[in-house]
Symmetry: C2
Subunit: 217 residues, 2 copies
């Protein structure tokens, strides 16, 4: 058990991303430590790591709180995602192998099948969100730019971004799936401008869905 710090980091992180901890909740080192049965040292390390990723805010001598995002933050995040992920598409298109295209097509199939099932939203949406993440990650992976991947990751480490599908209307969901399909088609055709453009539209459309929901609150 050589890395308690990493374990507790993961635990706190998933707790934040799932929304379990939210509302700028205070994260007291000692409390977390005793509740996990460990000392403050690894808890502290985990919190600083989360702070570096922007998931928690730390003030000197005043401790850590779960970070909060307002509409302006979300706009920034989706704008940057639209730029960076479309760039990933551009890089990925000439590099994608037939197998990788097939992999992406397969995810499209699975997501479309999931969308058609009669399962309740509570079951369907997490599954769709998971496939969605795999789809986007795969394109970034194909783009072969590790730093690009890191930049995008820091942007999507935000609860509401991780759960975008939860706020989607049925029409928005269908449009999203059509975007995925079109991105793969464009990549298959070797047209990186097409692929990048659809990806940009895809993320900007998501922005409007999320912002509309968020501002209405």
């Amino acid at each position: 058990m050589a890395k308690i710090a990493s374990t507790v980091y993961e635990q706190i992180r998933t707790a934040i991303l799932s929304g379990e901890l939210s509302n700028s909740e205070r994260l007291v080192e000692e409390d977390l430590a005793v509740s996990l049965g460990i000392s403050r040292t690894p808890v502290r390390e985990a919190l600083r790591r989360l702070a570096a990723e922007g998931l928690v805010d730390v003030s000197p001598n005043r401790g850590a709180r779960v970070a909060e995002w307002d509409a302006h933050d979300l706009r920034e995040i989706f704008d940057l995602r639209s730029i960076l992920e479309s760039h990933a598409c551009e890089l990925a298109t000439p590099r994608a192998s037939a197998a990788e295209i097939a992999f992406l097509e397969n995810i499209c199939d699975e997501m479309e099948a999931l969308a058609k099932t009669e399962l309740s939203s509570e079951q369907r949406l997490p599954a769709l969100a998971a496939k969605n993440r795999i789809f986007h990650s795969k394109i970034i992976e194909i783009s072969n730019s590790s730093r690009l991947g890191l930049l995008i990751e820091t942007l999507i480490h935000v609860p509401i971004v991780m759960q975008t599908y939860k706020v989607y209307s049925p029409e928005a969901l269908e449009r999203s799936l059509r975007h995925h399909r079109e991105i793969v088609t464009a990549m298959k055709a070797g047209d990186e401008v097409w692929a990048a453009s659809v990806m940009r539209a895809h993320v900007l459309a998501a922005r409007e869905e999320v912002l509309g929901q968020n501002e209405a609150e």
Copy 2:
């Protein structure tokens, strides 16, 4: 003295960025601690923070080393900078006030004056590099996107990027200054496409200078 960790973080960071520590040098916590007259705890915190920024690599149970960058890394970094900084220009152009434009023009004046002086390179280049950083930072500031600023910062926290001017030929330096001037002209004209295009060219030109130098080694 409530923040030893921040102080030592700055010290190690500037040591790395200045090239004082380099060549994947090992950073032993205890050694740093005794040489600074403090305990390992704040040293450790500083190292983890630097690791999160990508300035050092840490392996579990094996400590920290100064990070290294190869030509592929540099290509990635400059490509992403070209995209993000041109986006910053695009956002900044419609927002820039007359005073901000004047500020940027003033930096152009100062840099051109510096370039003309008969000072030795050792004196001139650091001054130019400092002004250059201010120029780019100012545009990011005007763009009013804090996250964009953070993303760009993580990219330029790399020694060779900080010292780009050191590898510039006289022609490249002159071109760089003309780019700056043209960016301000475009922003003044309210033409964000023009401004963004020049910025993109500006960073991509820098990429070729640095890569040409680096690959030749």
